[in-house]
Amino acid sequence: MSVDQAVLLQGRRLDRPRAIGTSAAGLAVALVLFAVTPLQGRADFVVVGYLFAVGAYLLAAARTEGRRSVVDRLVGVLMVTAVAVCLMGLGAVLVYTAARGVKAMSGDFFTHSMAGVGPRDTNGGAYHSILGTLEQVLLATLISVPTGLLVAVYLTEYGRGWIAAAVRALIDMMVGIPSIVAGLFVFAFWVLALHQGFSGLAAAIALSIIMLPIIVRSAEEMIKLVPANLREASYALGIPRWRTVLRVVLPTASAGITTGVMLAIARVTGETAPLLLTAFGFDSIHRDPFHGPQSSLPLFVFSQAGSAFTTAVNRAWAGALTLIVVVLLLTVAARLVTRRNRLVA
């Protein structure tokens, strides 16, 4: 096809060099404006420069193309802007936390607790709260993974009638429970009514309420993806249903189920609100998760962040960095497991 025919079919298009050139020209005008007029400030320049560059680009497009095409380009610019806003937000959170956290890290941070450490002291660490988080999340996983899998198996294999409908409705509702309300559930029931007091276990129960629907949902999806012929092959060999579920269905779905479990763990590792009402927080090392208040890493960050002293706030940043690294590692690992999942890929 000759060039003329292409123009006839598509209309004249603004080519890339001209688009970049005109945007740069718009930006240059903004620069000049900031140099000669009283306009100043970095944030102001970003806004004005962006508007000028986009304006020049769209004007150039309007000179060569029709109205519809210019609208298309405008929307494209808006979408790229939206993505840029998302990524800038993400970048600002990660970079600032990393910068402040690395600066605030000290040798004591992973080895010492806050026992006897005042807000203005520079020593003190998060050992007690890291220990608490590990114990609480481990307990929550031990509670929620087996029960979550059993509920998922019930819903996919056996669930019939109104009981199954009620269980499904409950799981749907649990997804929407704000985490602080999950904390209140456990506080009102376990801590107050059953007189169990604050403890790591109470925190683990609250976290399980948050983990359970995530695990049930993902396991249910994955079990549904297991090909029917695998099941039928197993039945044809005379293997009863329960063994088929345990030894064929669940192992086949295991990669997807693992992803769900890891995402659930990542989610609750950073939870703060329910722990406030259940673990309550504690300054010293407290290994026993079954009795007495315990700290946790998110609680540590929260309590240090509220302080008026830079030394305490620095500890909060170190804790925040630790928390982000752990949660992101879990999330990335969950994604890698998904990639190896034969059912989804």
Binding site: V93, F185, W242, F302, A305, A316
Partner: protein
């Protein structure tokens, strides 16, 4: 496959007819176990809800109807005065504001990923936006308080000085900082990945043929989106927005850290102060006495009901428009 071979080799060569009793017993036990656990969890949650109500009752009884109109929070005073009006107001205003900021950005970024970007670029943008969802809320709170609030003072002052004639931007005290608006921006960042992820799924479910039909008629990419992608996805996007609303309504720690807690109905989003139900529980819990705790539980009950209503509303909208949204259906 290995597992099947193993169990076949393990002496299971007789005809199945001889076997059923054992298999059936195992099946009955297994079915009973799964059903039992499911029903037990159902029962446990119902019991917990009843206890939540039971523990909230003393405060509700003491405050009476004033619980819904009182704008103070002194439950442990000799003459207790406390109510949720200011809290509910702050919760709703900050959440709605967060959605107003987050939804356009989230939907636009989702459209970019599914409709505009090359697949490789789109996939990576999707991953990165998902990372926003993984950041813990306490980190958002810390970041909001120490990074965002100082950097937003200038913008807020500009809004107050130039748009102060609009009531919500009116700020005669001329103090700027830890305002509802700042909290809403942090909330928006937290809601964004949820709305974006669900919207992406919704857009992906629009049949390819719909797009190709529009493109074949000579539509531009935007016209394709406007005429064939968006109309198909309307209910799904509503579902995504409500899911985000649920997250914003219940967010506790980020708001508790960013907002300078005051206790009044504050419709001036630039004025420092305000409070939400969830943040109030977090900040008042440590010092609360018996009535105080009961009052906080009662306020949590209100929050629970609000989120339940929101999600139930979303589900009915999604169902009525006839298309199941991911995560809600």
């Amino acid at each position: 496959m290995q597992t099947i071979e193993k169990s076949t080799a393990g002496g299971r060569s007789e005809p199945p007819a001889d076997r059923p009793p054992a298999g059936q017993r195992g099946d009955r036990i297994f079915a009973g176990l799964t059903t039992g656990v499911s029903v037990a969890i159902l029962a446990l949650l119902v019991v917990m809800m009843l206890f939540l109500f039971g523990k909230a009752w003393p405060a509700l009884h003491k405050a009476g109807l004033a619980f819904f109109t009182e704008r103070q929070w002194f439950p442990d005073a000799p003459k207790p005065r406390f109510g949720v009006e200011a809290l509910v107001w702050g919760t709703v205003v900050s959440s709605v504001l967060a959605l107003l900021i987050a939804v356009p950005v989230a939907v636009a970024s989702a459209l970019y990923v599914t409709e505009y970007a090359r697949p490789v670029v789109g996939r990576w943008v999707g991953y990165l936006v998902d990372v926003l969802a993984a950041v813990p809320s306490v980190v958002y709170g810390l970041w909001g308080l120490y990074f965002l609030v100082p950097r937003m003072v200038g913008f807020q002052r500009w809004l107050g000085q130039h748009l102060g004639f609009i009531p919500i931007f009116h700020n005669p005290e001329n103090l700027y900082g830890r305002s509802i608006l700042a909290a809403s921006v942090v909330l928006a960042l937290m809601v964004l990945p949820i709305v974006a992820a669900v919207s992406r799924e919704v857009f992906r479910q629009v049949p390819r043929e719909m797009r190709e039909a529009a493109l074949a008629l000579g539509a531009t990419r935007w016209e394709t989106v406007r005429m064939s992608v968006l109309p198909q996805s309307r209910s799904g996007i509503i579902g995504a927005v409500i899911l985000g609303l649920g997250r914003a309504l219940g967010e506790t720690i980020a708001v508790a850290l960013v907002l300078a807690v005051t206790f009044d109905v504050n419709i001036r989003i630039l004025r420092p102060g305000g409070n939400t139900v969830a943040a109030n529980i977090a900040t008042k819990f440590g010092e609360a006495g018996v009535v105080g705790r009961s009052a906080l539980i009662a306020s949590g009950l209100v929050l629970f009901l609000i989120t339940l209503l929101a999600t139930a509303g979303a589900r009915s909208v999604v169902r009525r428009t006839g298309r199941a949204a991911t995560g809600l259906a």
